[in-house]
């Protein structure tokens, strides 16, 4: 049995008129040490249940206490939706059933399980519409519809610490004639209202089930009525067509229902429920959603997902974050202050500071991840009078180097045998082990260690930023330091979606090489056929290898060199 708590600290001595606050979100359980997230803080951003680039040992060097796992990324269409039949091979008692935390090896963190990616880089991915009975998940292997019934099964089997209640997020795209790529759609008022209603209805059903009561009765009744109607029609049709009597009902549907019924009596009150508040761009709906959701006492925390605002925001980059924050503010005002609030889509340090000032407690770590993907290493520091880095300098690259980060793709770092940041305690910087020059080299040679080192540094600095913010709230310097931060570091320049030219050249060359390699390796895989059938393992494999790479000494990465040649040429241009 585990229990959730959220305690706010008394910072009244700090005498701030802002709503910034510090607290501790904790999960205590009998069989494990207490896990906690100090707030303002983060649930780490993950992709398919892994924090990008960080193997478990490297992940443990980070100090974030929680992780956010998106159901749609681990609930693949080709995998069973539960771990019910799977036991945990790592558990001491051999019979222990596997939870989602076991499966993802995230047992020492507070695990929040939500549906969608909290920071989708591509809002235009195929999104069909949710209905009254299911939400649409975009899994790595395709679209999957998730019904409330499925959802409840998953919660019972996954057993995350915190789960987001099923909600109707408006992430629909539309396709117009002549424009084959789907684009963001401004939702109609009707659609927004429906989203709020549906989310509340689902929330109530989820909360009923959580108490061990049947929250699905009504839905099942309706479903049964529909089915009977369908069957009747079918029978009538069959009789008419006088086909060969093969009208058996698929047994799957019945089985499903039985399994669902079996769970009805089991409460899952040791799993904490967070609820999404909806309302999109409509102020009155945001208020209604917040007020109604707040009324449900069982809800222990709130998620404000601003990703659904995309279609309604200004074109001008500078205005957008203000608009997002205004919507966040609307929701916040009507939520109870003693419970934690998490925001998606507010991630740059200056936006985080603004949201913290409004009373937001939780964020994700998609900001350091996105910097890493661009080859950027963060330099911003909270509470400093002047930027440690050189002021903005235009470089060979079109992108402007700001003092908040450096882009290690820039050739100017090639001979910089110094750490990203003096005094930084991350794995790369500490003791000047991995210099800017080395990371620049790794990027140019497309070696994966580059993103490992950058992610480690960027995550470490983001975490440090949050811990300094918490300190400043406690000692009453938050307001001054937040102002100072924006003076020194300004705002995040708009990411144009344009990659560094060196990156483009390297990736193009790499793609070619990978195709070649893939073909060669395909032969290997085919020859060995996976877990090698006893009898002909490696010898066969070797034949394939050698056929694929005639004349090659396997010790040498022949492809790499060609790759470099292509890169060099591309770079020269």
């Amino acid at each position: 049995m585990s229990s959730f708590s959220f305690k706010l600290q008394d910072n009244s001595a700090a005498k701030s008129h802002l709503h910034a606050r510090t607290g501790t979100l904790a999960i205590a359980s009998a069989h494990q040490e207490k896990r906690q997230i100090d707030t303002p803080g983060c649930f780490m951003y993950s992709i398919k249940g892994s924090v990008p680039h960080l193997t478990p040992d490297n992940l443990r060097q980070q100090t974030f206490g929680g992780v956010n796992v998106a159901m749609e990324q681990i609930l693949q269409t080709d995998q069973p939706q539960s771990f019910s039949k799977w036991t945990n091979p790592f558990a001491p008692e051999s019979q222990k059933l596997m939870s989602v935390a076991d499966y993802l090896h995230l047992q020492d963190l507070i695990l929040l399980c939500d549906f969608h990616d909290s920071a989708p880089l591509e809002p235009f991915s195929k999104r069909a519409s949710n209905t009254d009975y299911h939400v649409v998940l975009s899994t790595p292997k395709g679209i999957r519809q998730l019904t409330l019934e499925d959802y409840l099964k998953i919660v019972r089997h996954y057993r995350p610490d915190i789960v987001a209640a099923l909600t109707d997020s408006i992430l629909e795209t539309t396709q117009t004639a002549g424009n084959p790529t789907p684009h963001k759609k401004v939702p109609s008022q009707k659609r927004v209202r429906k989203s709020v209603d549906r989310s509340l209805k689902w929330l109530d059903q989820v909360l009923e089930e959580r108490q061990g009561r049947d929250g699905m009765a009504e839905d099942r009744k309706k479903e049964q009525e529909k089915r009977t109607k369908r069957e009747k029609k079918q029978k009538a049709r069959d009789a008419k067509n006088a086909v060969d009597g093969d009208t058996e009902m698929t047994p799957a549907a019945n089985e499903d229902q039985e399994e669902g019924n079996a769970f009805v009596s089991q409460p899952w009150t040791d799993i904490t429920v967070f609820a999404h508040v909806q309302g999109a761009h409509m102020k009155e709906e945001r208020i209604r959603s917040a007020q109604e959701t707040a009324r449900r006492d069982q809800v222990q925390g709130f998620i404000i997902d601003t990703n659904d605002l995309w279609a309604t925001l200004s074109k001008e980059h500078e205005k957008r974050s203000g608009e997002i924050l205004a919507h966040v503010q609307t929701s916040l005002t009507h939520l109870p202050s003693e419970k934690p609030k998490m925001v998606y889509g507010v991630r740059t340090p200056e936006d985080v500071l603004k949201a913290v000032a409004m009373g937001v407690d939780l964020f994700d770590t998609s900001y350091p991840y996105q910097l890493t993907e661009d080859g950027k290493a963060s330099l911003y520091e909270y509470g400093v009078e002047a930027a440690a880095a050189a002021p903005s300098i235009p470089t060979t690259n079109k992108s402007v180097v700001t003092n908040r980060w450096i882009n290690l793709w820039d050739e100017e770092h090639a001979d910089q045998f110094k750490p990203i940041m003096e005094g930084c305690e991350c794995y790369a910087c500490k003791g000047n082990r991995h210099t800017r020059a080395y990371i620049n080299h790794l990027l140019k040679t497309h070696e994966m260690l580059a993103t490992v080192l950058l992610m480690g540094h960027n995550m470490h600095q983001y975490s440090l930023f949050f811990s300094k913010v918490r300190e400043s709230i406690q000692d009453g310097t938050f307001e001054a330091k937040a102002t100072l931060f924006s003076e020194v570091f300004g705002i995040e320049p708009e990411s144009t979606g344009e990659k560094h030219e060196a990156q483009i050249a390297v990736e193009a060359a790499l793609q070619k090489r990978n195709q070649r390699l893939e073909t060669a390796e395909e032969g290997v895989v085919e020859a060995i056929g996976g877990a090698v059938p006893a009898g002909q393992p490696v010898s066969k494999m070797e034949d394939a290898e050698q056929q694929a790479s005639k004349k090659k000494r396997p010790s040498q990465e022949v492809e790499e060199g060609v790759d470099i040649a292509a890169k060099e040429k591309a770079l020269k241009k």
Partner: protein
């Protein structure tokens, strides 16, 4: 010539030619027989130096050709060499760069002076000489550096093989002369001579006269028949001085390692374990698992029972199936496992030599891998028979 290494043989197998030793290099001891993972560009496939050390790796390879291009000699000199550059405080070995020139660059041409090739930068003609290779390897600062050799494919026959052998000897002399740091870096000669025992013998005689700190068997693993491969290896180890380390280049499949150790080889390298990891192929004692395959989607076992690597300690095959070849973490995990597998294999071999039960180890190894004796490759059976291990009948005798 001068040497910057110590070679202490701890134990010799009483049946085969295998031996266990400690090779002490400028950056610490190396337990031999040893497998050296290949970090071509000064990094091992997304694994941090701390993780590599954690796997017990004591020596890693870098490629001279690649480091010569990037970051380049000037930067290597500026930062004090490849160890500092990549934050790796243990030993490094570099190849000469010659092989890559020949195999990578279409217009490479070998003359007495060196390897002439078209610059990948601007297409101009450039020349890699033994002197230039030494100078680059001195800048890299590897604990073991390899001579520039005249590489011909092991499938080549005729006078070209002999020409390459003699030229490699002449180039060795030039390398020895050009080597600026024999007190801190060990130069290894590379035995050439193709599949011809007479040429191999001649080459060894000549190179042994040069008295380099160690010797490599070159010109193999190029697609030649396995039955010819092992005979050349065995002939070379018979003729090479036993008081020096012997390195067989480009060998890294598990069964090749076991056989070659039995034939008396001490050092190996191969890019295969980490390269194949990128495609989701995990090495185990019972064969390779291609974790991309859907049959692993609900396989809730670790990659290999008993493996103590971070992948096996943390994840199931089912989870790895969802991330291999998709997420970099998946790739790192399999690379770590495969490297752990190779290093563990060598550790087990070494322990069995020290305890003089290597033949028993060989029997078990092949039984685990192939299950049925009828599946044992003929060349393996022949090779091991030549060193008194009878894979087909022998386990009965020992039992």
């Amino acid at each position: 010539m001068k040497s910057a290494l110590k070679w202490d043989i701890l134990a010799k197998c009483s049946t085969t030619k295998a031996r266990a030793a400690v090779l002490t290099l400028p950056h610490g001891p190396v337990n031999a027989p040893v497998f050296m993972p290949v970090g071509t560009q000064g990094t091992l496939k997304g694994i941090t130096p701390d993780q590599i050390e954690g796997l017990g790796c004591q020596i890693m390879l870098n490629n001279t050709y690649h480091l010569g291009l990037r970051p380049g000699q000037e930067l290597l000199d500026a930062c004090g060499g490849a160890h500092t550059f990549q934050g790796w405080n243990r030993n490094l070995l570099t190849d000469s760069g010659g092989f890559q020139m020949v195999s990578l660059l279409k217009l490479a041409e070998i003359t007495e002076q060196g390897v002439q090739f078209e610059s990948p930068h601007d297409g101009s003609l450039m020349l890699l000489t033994p002197e230039h290779s030494m100078s680059l390897q001195n800048s890299i600062g590897a604990d073991i550096m390899m001579q520039l050799d005249d590489v011909v494919s092991s499938l080549t026959t005729g006078p070209r093989v002999e020409e390459a052998m003699w030229r490699s000897i002449r180039w060795l002399d030039r390398c020895i002369k050009a080597h600026k740091k024999p007190e801190t870096q060990n130069l290894f000669a590379i035995i050439q001579g193709g599949l011809d025992p007479v040429l191999r013998k001649k080459c060894i005689e000549e190179m042994v006269k040069r008295d380099t700190p160690g010797y490599a068997i070159g010109g193999l693993s190029g697609g030649e028949e396995k039955d010819k491969f092992w005979r050349v290896v065995s002939q070379c180890t018979d003729l090479m001085p036993r008081e020096k380390p012997i390195y067989c280049m480009g060998v890294g499949y598990a069964e090749d390692l076991v056989v070659c150790v039995a034939l008396g080889v001490d050092m190996f390298d191969c890019v295969f374990p980490t390269r194949t990891a990128r495609f989701g192929n995990a090495l185990t004692s019972t064969g390779t698992l291609s974790l991309r395959q859907a049959k692993f989607k609900d396989d809730f076992r670790p990659i290999e029972e008993g493996c103590d690597c971070i992948a096996c300690k943390s994840y199931t095959r089912a989870y790895l199936y969802t991330i291999v070849t998709k997420e970099t973490v998946g790739c790192h995990l399999i690379s770590i496992h495969n490297t752990a597998y190779q290093l563990r294999l060598m550790r087990q071999i070494r322990e069995s030599i020290i305890e003089d039960r290597f033949p028993q180890y060989i029997h078990k190894f092949f039984k685990d891998l192939f299950v049925e004796k009828s599946a044992y490759p003929e060349w393996v059976v022949n090779a091991l028979k030549s060193v008194n291990v009878d894979l087909i009948e022998g386990d009965k005798q020992q039992a």
